[in-house]
């Protein structure tokens, strides 16, 4: 007899499409429509208005300028460092490799706080030190300028270039260089004729990533640029939104502009440069011949240490030192050191306690929901033949390609009551934004593990009498568990310290760690924000070490 059994797969798989529709397609469509709507009619008016205002023009130009110079300097810093650690006999190369990636792990807004302490014109540590050393009046450096922005941005984003170039140099088939050597070419000639042209696409790819991340970054231009009245697109959108919902039309139009630039840069990378990078990979890894630095060894070692000192040690020392200060700006003496800032944020101040609670709750929920949703999407895309599966996967990647500011604006448009549901100023709108933005991570990590599972394993479970759900539970999930766990932490860590979206979505009861640090810094409570930032840094470092241990070095930095 034929039993009609309840089948779970169409329901679960079908609802995945619906959820992604509601979570991503709906808000982004609204964003697009809204940018074309003024006073209830379709028009290009908003775009016209955007370009009529001089400051928007300046913000766009500043974004492009900042993006261009940050990419340029990131290449000048990241590519030679990558070459040094992979292709020369630089001592401690392995350690330096980790240290050069370290800035990538530091939340950019924390870096911004550090550098405004070090280089601000009134009482920056370096300015005071230089002034007392050379007996100067006034300041030497002013971080709240375009060059200051480029400086800080480069220090935190150059790892993108470093990672892609080091990866390319490591994967590059060493026989390509050896072949040139047997042809009679000397080291420098090989660098010029073979190595450099072969890694050029990776350098360009890293530069484009830096460019896209620079113009999407909010923390650094907000904490460093706004004080000096240097506005970029993200901070301009933020300042429109500070006027409340009235600024949303302009913010939407600027968001579309911002989105087009960064998505354009990423598409260029994915469609054009990625293909060129593939030709390098040889499959088998052999140790490449390492260049002997000879008498340059010690000077270059000192230089490498200097890079670590400036990018990692100086900012960390600055922030943690400030966090122990009683009075900011006074001389650093034993009398001026205290633990009260920590006592205050950990035990006394309600706002910071709320921030801890909210951020942990948000990060745990977002990571969990993302993993469930993301693995379903990955499953559909990798393991089924459902029509539209590739579109589903592509849509799930969109919010991560788009700047966080844009995602937040889209969320506000969709969930502030205009369409029946009002989540504005609540925990839920932040959660939705986090999920939308980070589900891409979950899809990527799980589809990588799913691709390793041969379809016959699942088919064998079905033949043995298991339903789809049973085979999922007994076969697929246990096999991809390491990927799931790693993916969970890869979402938990960045959401815990998220600032860009939270700053546009938070309400009186939904302060997050990022927002709390940002607001205290903006309000001038420098020691308190430093103490909070120090705690955050410790969490981030411990968390990363934990992830690294958990995944045996595959994830984390």
């Amino acid at each position: 007899m034929y039993h009609k059994r309840f089948r779970a797969d169409p329901l679960i798989l079908g609802s995945t499409f619906v959820i992604i529709g509601v979570l991503i397609v709906f808000p982004f469509t609204l964003l697009f429509i809204n940018s074309l709507k003024a006073d209830g009619v379709f028009t290009f008016q908003n775009y016209v208005t955007v370009f009529q205002a001089n400051r928007n023009y300046t913000a766009l130009f500043n974004s492009l300028k900042l993006g261009f110079f940050t990419s340029l300097f990131s290449v000048l810093l990241g590519a030679p460092l990558a070459w040094l650690v992979t292709r020369t006999n630089l001592p401690f190369a392995k350690l330096f490799k980790t240290l050069f990636i370290l800035p990538y792990m530091i939340p950019p807004f924390v870096g911004a706080i550090a550098w405004s302490q070090l280089l601000n014109r009134r009482n920056g540590y370096i300015n005071s030190w230089a002034a007392s050393l050379f007996g100067l009046e006034g300041h030497v450096f002013d971080v709240n300028t375009m060059p200051g922005l480029i400086w800080v941005m480069t220090l935190y984003l150059y790892p993108f270039v470093f990672i892609t170039v080091a990866g390319a140099l490591e994967r590059m088939d060493p026989t390509l260089e050896e072949a040139a050597r047997t042809c009679g070419a000397k080291t420098m000639r090989i660098m010029r004729d073979i190595t450099l042209p072969l890694v050029a696409p990776s350098i360009a790819g890293g530069a484009l990533l830096v460019f896209a991340s620079t113009i999407a970054n909010f923390g650094i231009p907000a904490l460093i640029g706004m004080q000096g009245r240097v506005y970029v697109l993200t901070t301009m959108i933020y300042s429109y939104m500070r006027r409340g919902l009235t600024g949303i039309a302009m913010a939407s139009a600027l968001s579309i502009l911002l989105m087009s630039i960064s998505v354009g840069a990423l598409l260029l990378n994915n469609l054009y440069l990625k293909k060129k990078q593939y030709t390098l990979i040889s499959g088998k890894s052999m140790r490449p011949t390492k260049l002997d630095l000879r008498r340059w060894k010690i000077p270059i070692l000192i230089l490498a240490f200097l890079v670590v000192f400036v990018t990692v040690i100086m900012p960390f020392v600055s922030i943690s030192l400030t966090s122990f200060l009683d009075a900011w700006g006074a001389k650093i003496t034993w009398d001026n050191l205290t633990l009260k800032n920590y006592r205050y944020i950990l035990f006394e101040y309600a706002l910071t306690k709320d921030a801890f609670k909210n951020s942990f709750l948000l990060a745990i929920s977002a990571a969990t929901v993302c993993m469930v949703l993301g693995s379903l999407i990955a499953y559909i895309s990798v393991k089924t033949k459902i029509r539209g599966r590739k579109a589903l996967e592509a849509v799930s990647q969109l919010p991560y390609a788009v700047p966080g500011t844009v995602v937040a604006i889209a969320m506000i448009l969709a969930w502030s009551g205009k369409y029946g549901i009002n989540l504005y100023n609540t925990f839920w709108i932040i959660l939705l934004a986090y999920i939308a933005r980070y589900v891409a991570f979950a899809v990527r990590t799980t589809s990588a593990s799913l691709e390793q599972i041969h379809p016959s394993l699942e088919e064998a479970a079905r033949i043995s009498g298991g339903s789809w759900l049973t085979s999922l539970k007994d076969i697929v999930v246990p096999l991809i568990r390491p990927g799931l766990v790693a993916g969970w932490f890869l979402i938990f860590m960045p959401t815990l310290r998220e600032l860009t979206m939270s700053i546009l979505l938070w309400g009186p009861k939904t302060v997050t760690i990022g927002v709390a640090i940002f607001e205290m810094q903006e309000a001038g409570y420098v020691q308190i924000s430093s103490a909070f930032a120090t705690i955050l840094l410790v969490i981030v470092i411990v968390g990363n070490l934990f992830v690294k241990w958990l995944t045996k070095g595959k994830a984390g930095i």
């Binding site: 040139a180 050597r181 047997t182 042809c183 009679g184 072969l198």
Partner: protein, 356 residues
């Protein structure tokens, strides 16, 4: 002058000896193969000749020039050795077209561009790539990429060409074709070739001489025929072709010697053509015989008797398994042989070797 001489060449990484005391003279115009299983040290030896690895001990001469000596602290870098090299994965530069790839060595040595064009065209026609000069590597098949690599090595008119498993990434048919072509090119231009491979058929088909390596040490150096017919040890016998190993005991018989199998039911002694100077009675040895050197005859005519356990028809031959007590022996008989399963047959050995 393009002979290559290795004198007591050794290489170790830490405690591990990867090449152990190899001495060898490769004569002008010779095609010599380094043959052995993976990890035997053949590639490391080649890379030491090329100059990519530095020997821990010993010397290397290319022509009359000392290019590497651990003792005299001489080391000529690869770019100054004038050797051509073809890599297993071709190492054709993906950002240069065929012409630029092949012309590169001439560009380095500052040959005039008119001459470059001439010589590239000549060498491209030699490797049958004429008309493909403006193609990029990704537009070429594996075989064509290998020809580009070959042309690039040939164009420098090197003293010696080093080929590191150049055919192992190609499919079977192409591999066979390229074997003959490489051999043909060598014959025409008379370059000395050192060829690394783990494929015994490839080494047999192409080489003038083969250096057989195992666990970092030389097992045998000789012509393909010598290696096949007169292997010097069990490894050599086993690595090339099929062979049966049977334990024997030597017994004296008059002035000479005969042998009997230790693990066979039929332990009738049979004459062997080894002199008492080489072996003496009472010794236990290993008797090695190739399947095609065993004739199936009637029980009375053979050296020993056995029973047919299995026969497989392979078209040109019949592959028999004959039980001799505890051991089994593989015999290749003409496909006309008419022995059936369980039949008792005589085995006659036409050629064999005895090892310790």
């Amino acid at each position: 002058m393009s002979r290559v001489v290795l004198k007591n060449l050794s290489k170790s990484f830490g405690e591990v000896n990867v090449v152990n005391d190899i001495s060898l003279e490769i004569i002008d115009h010779e095609f010599l193969s380094f043959l052995g299983p993976s990890g035997c040290g053949k590639t490391t030896t080649l890379r030491m000749i090329a100059g990519f690895d530095m020997p821990t001990a010993g010397e290397i001469f290319i022509g009359d020039r000392l290019v590497s000596s651990a003792e005299k602290k001489v080391f000529v870098p690869p770019e100054d050795r004038n050797v051509g090299m073809v890599f297993q994965n071709y190492a054709v530069w993906p950002h240069m077209d065929v012409f630029k790839n092949v012309a590169y060595p001439l560009k380095i040595s500052k040959v005039k561009s008119a001459d470059i064009r001439d010589r590239v065209m000549r060498v491209l026609s030699l490797v049958k790539l004429k008309g493909m000069e403006s193609r990029y590597p990704h537009q070429l098949s594996g075989g064509q990429q290998q020809r580009v690599a070959l042309a690039r090595a040939l164009i420098m008119e090197p003293d010696v060409m080093l080929l590191d498993e150049p055919l192992s990434n190609l499919d079977a048919k192409l591999r066979e074709e390229m074997r003959f072509e490489i051999k043909d090119i060598q014959r025409r231009i008379g370059v000395t070739i050192i060829y690394v491979t783990h494929d015994q058929a490839e080494a047999m088909a192409m080489s003038d001489r083969i250096l057989l390596l195992h666990e970092a040490t030389v097992q045998q150096l000789g012509t393909p025929r010598e290696l096949y017919e007169r292997p010097e040890n069990q490894f050599a016998a086993d690595f090339i072709g099929l062979i049966n190993f049977l334990r024997i005991e030597l017994i004296s018989k008059g002035d000479g010697l005969c042998a009997r199998f230790l693990d066979a039911d039929d332990d009738t002694p049979f004459d062997i053509n080894y002199s008492p100077e080489q072996l003496s009675a009472g010794m236990q040895r290993v008797f090695a015989v190739r399947p095609e050197n065993v004739k199936l005859v009637s029980p009375r005519e053979g050296h020993v008797t056995g029973k047919v356990r299995k026969k497989v028809y392979l078209g040109n031959i019949l592959d028999y398994r004959i039980v001799l007590g505890k051991e089994e022996i593989r015999v290749e008989a003409p496909s006309t042989a008419k022995y059936d399963i369980d039949q008792v047959v005589g085995l006659k050995f036409t050629d064999y070797v005895i090892f310790e």
